[in-house]
C-alpha cells in the first residue's frame, strides 16, 4: 500500500489575478523558491452600466486563478510577494486569500513545498491582510454564472470570478441517458467581507435557485487572511472608484470591516428573516479535494462516485513547477493535474480516502494528494427542507 503522509500546518493560498500580471507573479514566486503552483483560466464578471455598452463588442476581463499549497510559515511572505508583484493594492488588480487546511494527506511522491525554502522577505512596506473575509463558491449550469455574478455584485460583493468545471454525479446515475445532461458547469468564486456575507450568500443562492434539484451548490469557506481588489464594473464611473478607495482606507485604519455593517443602523425584521432562512442549508461539512495526474482523474472520480459521493466537480489545472522540463524554445512544459472537489460529511472522509488510496495503490498512480478544509455552511437541494438528508444530492 502506497504510503500517505499526514502533513499538518499547510494552507491553500489562492490568488485571482488579471491575465497580464498572473504570469509575472508566477515567475516571481518560482524564482524566489516557490516549488509549484496550480493555475486555471478564469474570467471576471462584466457588468455593463451604460445602455450603449450592450451594442459594443466587449470582453470580460481575463483572469487566472493561481493556487499554492504552502506551509503556514511561508504563507505570509508568499502573499506579501504576490501583493507586491501583482500590485494588488491597485483598484481592480486582483485578490488573494489563504485557507488553512484541516488535513492534508499526500502520497510520498507528491512534490510538497518544503517549509523554510522560500526566501522572499518583504522589507519595503507593511501589508495588513484582512482577517474577516469569507470565500463563496457556487457551482451553476453553464450560462447562469453571469446573472449570479450580477446579483452578487449588487448585493455587495466586489467582483466575482468565473471558471469552468464539469459536474458529475446526477448524470452518471442515468446510464447512457447521461448524454442528455450537460456536463459543463461554471464555478463562481466571490470573496466578501464578513459583514456582507449573509446578503451575498442569500442573493447568490436565490439567483441560482440552488434549493431546487439539479441546480447546483453553493458553499462558504473561511479565509484566514486575505485581500480583495477585484473590479466588477466595466468602465468604472470616476467617482465610484474613489469612494471604494475611501472605504478601503477606513478598513485599513480600522483593521476590519465591522464598522460597515449597516444592520446596526437599520433594523429590517423581514430581511433578517430571509437571511436566516435555512431552506436547503447544510452545516458543518468539509470540502474534500483530490489532486492527481490528469489521466488518473477519471478512475478516481468513478471510485468516489461508487463510494457514494453525491456529486463531484472536476477541473484540470496546469501544474507549473520550478524544476520542470523546457521545450527547445525555452518554454516550460507544465504537467496537468486533475482536481476532484466534493462536499462531504467529516465522518465520511476516512472511508472515502481509504477507498481512493486502495485504487491509487492498485493502479500505481503517481503524485496524488487529498486536501480538506472546512465548509461551515452550504446550500443545495435537500430532500426535505430543513432536515438535511444523510447524503445530500448531487452538485451536478
Amino acid at each position: 500500500m502506497k504510503h500517505f503522509n499526514d502533513i499538518p500546518g499547510y494552507s491553500l493560498v489562492t490568488a485571482i489575478l488579471p491575465r497580464q500580471s498572473a504570469h509575472r507573479v508566477l515567475e516571481a514566486v518560482l524564482e524566489f523558491g516557490g516549488a509549484h503552483a496550480l493555475t486555471l483560466n478564469a474570467r471576471g464578471s462584466l457588468i455593463k452600466d451604460r445602455w450603449y455598452q450592450s451594442f459594443l463588442p466587449t470582453l470580460s476581463p481575463e483572469q487566472e486563478i493561481l493556487s499554492f499549497l504552502v506551509p503556514n510559515d511561508d504563507t505570509e511572505p508568499l502573499m506579501e510577494q504576490i501583493v507586491m508583484v501583482g500590485k494588488l493594492r491597485m483598484y481592480g488588480a486582483g485578490s488573494i486569500f489563504a485557507t488553512e487546511c484541516t488535513s492534508l494527506r499526500c502520497a510520498e511522491d507528491y512534490p510538497l513545498w518544503t517549509p523554510g525554502n522560500y526566501r522572499f522577505e518583504s522589507t519595503s512596506f507593511d501589508i495588513r491582510f484582512k482577517k474577516d473575509l469569507i470565500a463563496l463558491f457556487q457551482i451553476a449550469d453553464k450560462g447562469e454564472a453571469d446573472s449570479i455574478c450580477r446579483t452578487a455584485v449588487k448585493a455587495g460583493a466586489q467582483g466575482a470570478t468565473i471558471s469552468y468545471t464539469s459536474g458529475f454525479g446526477l448524470r452518471d446515475r442515468l446510464g447512457l441517458l447521461r448524454i442528455t445532461k450537460k456536463r459543463e458547469k461554471e464555478l463562481v468564486t466571490v470573496v466578501v467581507d464578513q459583514c456582507d456575507v449573509d446578503a451575498v450568500y442569500q442573493a447568490m443562492a436565490a439567483a441560482g435557485r440552488v434549493d431546487l434539484p439539479g441546480r447546483g451548490f453553493i458553499y462558504q469557506v473561511p479565509i484566514s487572511q486575505g485581500l480583495t481588489n477585484l473590479s466588477s464594473v466595466f468602465h468604472p464611473k470616476k467617482h465610484s472608484a474613489s469612494i471604494q478607495q475611501i472605504i478601503r482606507a477606513i478598513d485599513e485604519m480600522q483593521g476590519d470591516t465591522h464598522w460597515r455593517a449597516n444592520h446596526l443602523l437599520v433594523h429590517d425584521p423581514k430581511a433578517a428573516d430571509f437571511a436566516q432562512s435555512t431552506r436547503g442549508t447544510i452545516t458543518g461539512r468539509v470540502v474534500h479535494r483530490v489532486v492527481c495526474a490528469r489521466k488518473d482523474t477519471g478512475t478516481l472520480l468513478d471510485q468516489a462516485l461508487n463510494f457514494g459521493v453525491p456529486g463531484a466537480s472536476v477541473d484540470y489545472w496546469r501544474f507549473a513547477e520550478a524544476n520542470a522540463e523546457h521545450t527547445k524554445g525555452g518554454l516550460r512544459i507544465n504537467r496537468e493535474l486533475g482536481n476532484i472537489t466534493t462536499i462531504v460529511n467529516p465522518e465520511t472522509i476516512e472511508p472515502l480516502q481509504a477507498t481512493l488510496r486502495e485504487t491509487i495503490h492498485q493502479k500505481d498512480m503517481k503524485g496524488a494528494c487529498f486536501i480538506t478544509y472546512p465548509a461551515p455552511s452550504a446550500k443545495t437541494f435537500v430532500r426535505s427542507a430543513g432536515r438535511p438528508a444523510v447524503e445530500e444530492p448531487a452538485s451536478s
Partner: protein, 647 residues
C-alpha cells in the same frame, strides 16, 4: 474503465419506454431548437426574399421544406456528436500526447492528422469532379492538373495540410508568434499569385489553388485540429497566452494554396501538361464537347434575356402592317439617317424605324402557375441521395476516428474513458453529417441556388431559375436594382455564415478555451458581418465594373497584413482561424449560385470565385477591427487602474 459507476441501474429497465422516450424527446427538442436558432435566419430570409420581394414562386417547395427539416435534424445530431464524441476524443489525445511522447512522435502524429483530414474532407472529391468541366484548349495546365495529375494534386494538398499542422504544433513548442509566420507566408502567396496572374497558362490555376485552401478546413477537421493545438498549449507555459492553441487552421488553409501553386509551377517548367511538348497523356481533340461549364446550377442557368418579337408576330406585322396588334405594346426608335432643318420643320430622312417589344408580365404569370402545381422535384432520387451523403459522412469521420483511436491505443497505450459516450458521439456525428448533406442537397442548396440566380432580376430581365419565360427587371433604375442586389448579398452572406457548422464549432472552442471571455456570439457576429461585407463587396464589383480577380484579392490581403501587424496576437489567431473555416457547405453553393447569376453578363468572371475569396478576407478584417476596439477599451481600463493607484 468505460463503464459508468455500477450504482447506475440500467435506465431502460427502470424508467420504461415512456420515461426514456420523454427524457430523450425533451433533450432532442432542446438541441434542435438550438440549431434552429442558427439556421432560421438564412432560411426565412431566403424564402421571404424570393416569395415576397422578388415576387417569384419557390419551385419544388415541398422538396425544399423536407430538405430544410432534414438539415436541422442533421445539424442537431452533428453538433451533439461533436460535443459528445469528436471534441472529447481530440481533447483526450491533445492532453495525453504532448506530455507522454517525444517531439518526433508528436510531429509525425500532427503530419498524419493533417494528411488524413484532407483525404477525409468531402470537398476534395468535388474538386476531382470539377475537372470534367474544364476545356483543355482553354486552360491546358488546369485541365492537366485536374485530370492527368489529379492524384498529385490531392497529394499536394494533403502534404500542404500535413506540413501546416506540423508547423502549427511546432510553433507552440518554440513560442513563435503567428504574426511572424503568416506575414511572410501571405506575402509569398501574394507574390506567387501575381506571378501566376501574368502568365496566361498559370492564370486559370489561381481559382483552383485558392479553393483548395478553403475546402481543407471542414467541420470534422477543425474541432480535431483545434483540440490538438489546445491540448499542446495547456501544458506549455506561454509568455503571451492570448489565443493559445489556435492558428493551425490558418496555416492549414494557406499552405495548400502554396502547394498547389508550386505544383503548377513545376509542371509549367517541366512542360508536361496538356498540349505541351512533354505531354504523356492523350491529346483531347479541341472539338467542343458538351461538358457542362459550370457544375453548380443544374436546373437552369439564369440568362439575361432580350425581349424579342417572335417570327409569327413578324409575319403578322408583314400581313397586316399593324404594330398595334401586339398586346404588350412596343417602343419605337430611329436608327441612322439624316436630320435636316427645312421650312421651319425638323425632317429625319432615310432613317430605319425600329420596333422593340415591351416586356410582358401577364404571359409569365401563367408559367408560374403551371410550375407551382408540382411542388415535388421529380428528379429527386431519395435512395441515391441518402446513400451518397451517408457515404461522404462515413468517409469523413470514421477513418479519422479510427486513426485517433489506434494512436491512443497502440502508440499512447491509453484506454479511452467513457468510450460508450464517445461512441454515441461518433455515431451521432456520422448520422448528423449524413442527414445534413442530404438536407443540403434537397433543401438549402436548391433554395439558395434559385434565389441566388434570381437576384439579378432587381436590375435586369432574366429567365428565373427552373422556369421558362422571361421576367422583366424589378426596378427600372439599374443602379437602385444593383444596390438592392448588394444589400441582399450582404444578408445572404451573414445568414449563411451563422449556420456554418465548422464556424459554430470554432466559436464554441474559442468560448471554452477563453473561459467565456471571448463569447461565441461575438465571434460569430463579427465573422458573419465580415463575410456579408466581403460578399457584398464582391457583388458590387461584379455588378458595377469588371475588375479582375487579382486586383480584387491583393489590396485586401495587403490591408490584412497591415492590420495583423498592429493587432494583438490573440486576435490575429482568432481572426485568421475564423476566416479559414467560414467557407463551408452552406455558404459556398449559395455564393456560387449568386455569383453565377450576377456574373452572367460579365464575361470572364462568371464563377463567383472572386466573391468567395473576398468572403474569407472580410471576416479577418472585422475580427481584427473588433480586436482593436476591445484592446482600446482594455487599455483605458488599465489607465484607470493606474490613476487609482495614487491613493
Amino acid at each position: 474503465m468505460s463503464q459508468p459507476p455500477p450504482t447506475a441501474t440500467p435506465a431502460f429497465a427502470q424508467l420504461g419506454f415512456g420515461g426514456v422516450a420523454s427524457i430523450l424527446w425533451r433533450y432532442f427538442r432542446e438541441k434542435a431548437l438550438e440549431q434552429l436558432k442558427s439556421v432560421w435566419f438564412i432560411i426565412a430570409y431566403l424564402a421571404v426574399f424570393q416569395a415576397l420581394f422578388l415576387d417569384l414562386p419557390i419551385i419544388y417547395g415541398a422538396t425544399i421544406a423536407v430538405g430544410i427539416v432534414i438539415v436541422i435534424i442533421g445539424l442537431t445530431f452533428f453538433m451533439e456528436g461533436l460535443r459528445l464524441g469528436l471534441m472529447p476524443f481530440g481533447e483526450t489525445i491533445g492532453a495525453i500526447l504532448p506530455r507522454n511522447s517525444r517531439m518526433p512522435l508528436i510531429i509525425t502524429f500532427a503530419f498524419l492528422l493533417g494528411v488524413g483530414a484532407t483525404f477525409a474532407e468531402p470537398a476534395i472529391s468535388v474538386l476531382k469532379k470539377a475537372g470534367s468541366g474544364v476545356q483543355p484548349h482553354e486552360a491546358p495546365l488546369l485541365y492537366s492538373l485536374l485530370n492527368d495529375f489529379s492524384g498529385q494534386l490531392v497529394a499536394c494538398v494533403g502534404i500542404g495540410v500535413g506540413f501546416a499542422v506540423t508547423l502549427g504544433v511546432l510553433r507552440f513548442f518554440y513560442g513563435w508568434s503567428l504574426k511572424t509566420l503568416i506575414i511572410p507566408i501571405v506575402l509569398t502567396l501574394v507574390g506567387m499569385t501575381l506571378f501566376a496572374h501574368f502568365n496566361p497558362t498559370l492564370n486559370p490555376i489561381i481559382g483552383l489553388a485558392w479553393d483548395c485552401g478553403a475546402v481543407t478546413t471542414g467541420p470534422v477537421t477543425v474541432p480535431l485540429v483545434l483540440a490538438l493545438g489546445i491540448g499542446v498549449c495547456r501544458i506549455i507555459d506561454e509568455q503571451d497566452q492570448g489565443g493559445a492553441g489556435f492558428g493551425i487552421v490558418t496555416l492549414a488553409s494557406l499552405f495548400p494554396i502554396i502547394a498547389v501553386l508550386l505544383l503548377s509551377f513545376y509542371h509549367l517548367a517541366a512542360k508536361d501538361y496538356h498540349g505541351a511538348p512533354n505531354y504523356q497523356g492523350e491529346i483531347v481533340a479541341t472539338s467542343k464537347t458538351s461538358a457542362p461549364q459550370q457544375p453548380t446550377a443544374d436546373a437552369g442557368t439564369p440568362s439575361l434575356e432580350q425581349i424579342r418579337f417572335t417570327r409569327e408576330e413578324f409575319q403578322d406585322y408583314l400581313e397586316t402592317g399593324d404594330i398595334e396588334r401586339i398586346p404588350e405594346g412596343y417602343t419605337t426608335s430611329y436608327r441612322g439617317g439624316e436630320v435636316i432643318f427645312e421650312d421651319g420643320k425638323i425632317v429625319h430622312t432615310n432613317a430605319d424605324i425600329v420596333f422593340e417589344k415591351k416586356e410582358d408580365k401577364t404571359m409569365f404569370e401563367s408559367l408560374i402557375v403551371e410550375q407551382v402545381k408540382h411542388p415535388w422535384n421529380p428528379n429527386t432520387n431519395f435512395g441515391r441521395e441518402i446513400l451518397s451523403s451517408f457515404i461522404v459522412a462515413a468517409q469523413a469521420i470514421i477513418p479519422l476516428c479510427a486513426f485517433l483511436f489506434i494512436t491512443l491505443l497502440v502508440v499512447l497505450k491509453e484506454r479511452l474513458r467513457r468510450a460508450d459516450e464517445i461512441a454515441i458521439g461518433v455515431i451521432f456525428a456520422v448520422v448528423g453529417m449524413g442527414l445534413f448533406g442530404l438536407g443540403l442537397a434537397l433543401g438549402l442548396t436548391p433554395l439558395g441556388t434559385q434565389l441566388g440566380s434570381n437576384v439579378p432580376v432587381t436590375f435586369s430581365a432574366i429567365t428565373p431559375w427552373g422556369l421558362s419565360g422571361t421576367v422583366p427587371a424589378l426596378f427600372d433604375n439599374p443602379v437602385l436594382g444593383k444596390c438592392i442586389a448588394i444589400v441582399f448579398a450582404f444578408f445572404l452572406g451573414y445568414g449563411a455564415t451563422l449556420a456554418e457548422p465548422a464556424l459554430n464549432a470554432l466559436g464554441q472552442t474559442v468560448e471554452n478555451t477563453t473561459v467565456g471571455v471571448f463569447r461565441k456570439s461575438l465571434l460569430m457576429q463579427a465573422v458573419a458581418i465580415g463575410v456579408g461585407l466581403g460578399i457584398a463587396a464582391g457583388v458590387a464589383q461584379m455588378a458595377f465594373s469588371t475588375i479582375n480577380l487579382t486586383n480584387l484579392l491583393i489590396p485586401p490581403y495587403l490591408l490584412l497584413v497591415f492590420l495583423s501587424v498592429i493587432s494583438s496576437e490573440e486576435f490575429v489567431n482568432f481572426a485568421w482561424d475564423s476566416a479559414g473555416v467560414t467557407t463551408g457547405p452552406i455558404t459556398v453553393p449559395l455564393v456560387l449560385a449568386m455569383g453565377l447569376g450576377i456574373g452572367a453578363n460579365i464575361p470572364g468572371l462568371s464563377d463567383g470565385f472572386g466573391i468567395l475569396a473576398l468572403a474569407s478576407v472580410g471576416p479577418i478584417l472585422t475580427v481584427l477591427t473588433v480586436g482593436l476596439i476591445v484592446n482600446r477599451t482594455r487599455k483605458r481600463e488599465e489607465l484607470n487602474a493606474i490613476e487609482n493607484e495614487a491613493f
